[in-house]
């Protein structure tokens, strides 16, 4: 993975060269969904939708649009969530899209 890839803030994840970015994102987004307290709508709804979308991509049932949705939702979450939990998913999603778009596209139907 390239050096400017951010997966989680204040956390590091060790993986080998064969790791699939969608699997990694899936684990990260499920983590944020679990951690969302549910108080503010952008984070509660946003993490729920992100998980739904990444699960589809992970099972190779996603569509091209889903990649844009991931970015769009996480961007709104970054701008409007109350705390860093909701603001966080933007970084891994945007860096995955920037650095591993080819891998993500392989998951699209």
């Amino acid at each position: 993975m390239s050096k400017d890839t951010v997966l989680k803030k204040y956390a590091s994840l060790v993986m080998d060269e064969d790791a699939d970015v969608v699997d990694v994102l899936q684990s990260v987004l499920h983590y944020y969904n679990r951690e969302s307290c549910g108080h503010c709508a952008p984070c509660r709804v946003g993490t729920s939708l992100l998980v739904k979308i990444i699960d589809r991509l992970a099972s190779f049932e996603g569509e091209r649009d889903n990649l844009d949705q991931l970015l769009k939702i996480s961007k709104v979450m970054r701008d409007t969530s109350f705390c860093p939990v909701g603001q966080a998913p933007y970084s891994p999603i945007s860096s995955a899209l920037k650095n591993f778009q080819d891998q993500l596209l392989q998951h699209v139907k």
Binding site: N33, G38, V45, T47, S48, Q69, I73, T80
Partner: protein, 600 residues
């Protein structure tokens, strides 16, 4: 041009430090601590909001009100952020507009989209917001499964599929009413609003006040409707359907028909009900006058005997269940007089049935109430003194408006008609029952007469009027100094009852007579009133009732000729044995877990 405009916000008389900032490049002078939302409002800029309500402490749950502050990296919530010196706030930049829209798209993605069949259709704040922001696509799929609708309460229905988790209902229930029936549970995608035991509102300490239904911005909380049952009764030729309307209805039914808040529609309301084909249109105000005589006599007797003081009013069924649940030790202090609704119910199937020669089982007694707790009160087991269920169906103001609209009756075009005899005549004292302090004022007008035999000259007892949470007054009745207190909203009632309980534990309470209304503002702010009513609207409706009081020829309950007639012909005298049987009740102790009656 607008850049040089200076606008000053004045908040009360408190002198605060004035600062300068800009909103959409317009210069504004503001008090330190003013939120961006409030400051913008003074410039005529309404920043869209969803979870925000003027009566509640902002929580920032929805994220719709975000604005851009130049120089800050992320967007800022206008409802919770105080404006700061030197800021330039943009409320409509490209970034703000697109973000705001996307937040609403996220929120509606988990909201039931059956707007056409929703009870809130046309009155939903989320619907209005989506329309104002020009949302045309449903971008995302719903991510939660259909949840069961909570119909365990006889008063209130909760549909979690429509809930947007703004938390207003929880705030009202905990902060204003201090009932704590509703709460957030679970977390993340699973977050729900529910009762502590999760067994539904009907199996919770909920007192049915219905304030949650008034504050809900969407169709997630609404009254358990009796509209269909009433239509059925009206269309049944074998039934004689009588109707009563609470004092507060006349001050706000007009709002549902586009009239100014606080327009008095008493006469039009009677006419409209006749056109709905009710067989007799009476008025709860009549039994409000009767309540004053029963309760007033009880107060006077108990003050004379020095027994079980203070006397506490019993008109508000939300308060009664609250008292039974949280202050059961005060039961003996609560007046045994039934509420006006229940007195009417009993009399409609006894006195009226006898007078008219109608079999009581043929009578269907309907009440129009500003209240959801009245539905619960009507179904109480002990409310069967006529030999039948005293009140058959209770409709809220909202339900009546729906019936009138369905029948195509335009309230605005109705003539002014009086209510029918013998349960329709009323005085000004009855009409002010609908505003906080009204029962107290009405009772004092008659108590003065009952004690002294003379009429109270100055009828306006201003110290018990108004929206101050707790009010006190001292009234001189022929040398006896009566100390009275008024509380509205159950949070205020709780504070007053804690004080009363502490004083009673030490031997003697300073008050003689206390009025409690469960809803803030009294019945004009009831849980069955038009949606979205805030405290300012409640105050205006209260004023309407005081205006009607002033305009009526009779303003003391004991002057009501129909009340005199019912005592002569039927009841004997106030507090008589017959009244005791028909017009008085008793109270229970209730569980704080499920609200059910428990053994003492």
């Amino acid at each position: 041009m607008l850049n040089n405009q200076q606008i000053t916000i004045q908040r009360g008389l408190k002198k605060q430090k004035m600062e300068k900032a800009r909103i959409n490049n317009i210069e504004i002078e503001f008090d330190e601590g003013t939120t961006i939302l409030d400051a913008a409002k003074t410039l005529g800029i309404n920043i869209p909001t969803l979870c925000h309500h003027p009566d509640l402490i902002p929580t920032g749950a929805c994220g719709v009100c975000v604005v851009e502050v130049e120089g800050l990296p992320t967007l800022t919530r206008a409802c919770t952020t105080p404006l700061e010196k030197g800021w330039n706030v943009q409320t409509n930049s490209a970034r703000v507009r697109s973000t705001r829209k996307e937040v609403v798209e996220l929120i509606i993605s988990d909201h039931d989209m059956d707007c056409l069949t929703c009870i809130k259709n046309g009155k939903c704040e989320l619907q209005e917001l989506a329309a104002n922001l020009g949302i045309r696509d449903l971008t995302y799929p719903k991510f939660t499964d259909k949840k069961p609708i909570d119909t365990t309460s006889v008063s209130i229905v909760r549909d979690p599929n429509k809930c947007i988790l703004c938390g207003r209902c929880v705030q009202v229930c905990t902060e204003i009413q201090t009932v704590n029936a509703l709460t957030f549970a679970e977390r993340s995608s699973e977050t729900v609003i529910t009762t502590a035991s999760g067994e539904g509102m009907g199996n919770s300490p909920c007192v049915n006040c219905g304030q949650c239904t008034v504050y809900c911005p969407v169709g997630a909380l609404y009254e358990n409707s009796s509209v269909e049952a009433v239509w059925e009764a009206l269309n049944n030729p074998d039934k004689h359907v009588v109707v009563q309307e609470a004092p507060a209805i006349r001050a706000m039914l007009g709002e549902e028909f586009g009239m100014e808040p606080g327009t008095l529609v008493a006469g039009k309301m009677h006419a409209a009900l006749r056109r709905l084909k009710f067989d007799a249109v009476f008025d709860t105000n009549f039994t409000a006058d009767l309540t004053i005589l029963e309760e007033g006599t009880e107060v006077v007797e108990r003050i004379k005997a020095g027994k079980d003081l203070p006397v506490i009013t019993s008109c508000s069924p939300g308060w009664i269940k609250f008292m039974e649940t949280f202050y059961p030790h005060l039961r003996k202090h609560v007046s045994t007089a039934k509420s006006p609704q229940q007195m009417f119910g009993t009399l409609s199937k006894t006195y009226y049935a006898e007078q008219k020669g109608i079999a009581p089982e043929k009578i269907v007694s309907v009440s129009i109430m500003p209240c959801t707790a009245k539905k619960f009160e009507a179904l109480r087991d002990e409310m069967k003194d006529s030999g039948f269920q005293d009140v058959d169906f209770v409709l809220t103001t909202r339900e009546l408006a729906r019936m009138l609209k369905e029948a195509g009756i335009d309230l605005k075009a109705m003539p002014d008609e009086p209510a029918d005899d013998p349960l329709g005549e009323y005085t000004g004292a009855a009409t002010i029952f609908g505003a906080t302090g009204g029962v107290m004022e009405a009772a004092l007008r008659s108590a003065y007469f009952l004690v002294t035999g003379r009429e109270l000259e100055n009828l306006d007892i201003l110290s018990v009027r108004g929206l101050k949470g707790r009010k006190e007054a001292e009234v001189d009745v022929d040398g006896i100094k009566l100390k009275v207190a008024v509380a509205h909203g159950l949070g205020n009632a709780r504070k007053l009852m804690d004080k009363v309980s502490a004083q009673l534990a030490n031997g003697k309470c300073e008050y003689h007579f206390i009025e409690v209304m469960a809803c803030p503002g009294g019945c004009v702010g009831g849980g069955g009133q038009p949606w979205g009513s805030d405290m300012a609207m409640r105050a205006r409706r209260g004023q309407t009732l005081y205006q009607e009081d002033k305009s009526l020829p009779m303003r003391r309950s004991h002057e009501n000729p129909s009340v005199k007639a019912i005592y002569e012909k039927y009841l004997g005298h106030p507090y008589s044995e017959k009244s005791h049987h028909l017009l008085h009740t008793h109270y229970f102790k209730r569980s704080r877990i499920d609200g059910k009656v428990v053994e003492d």
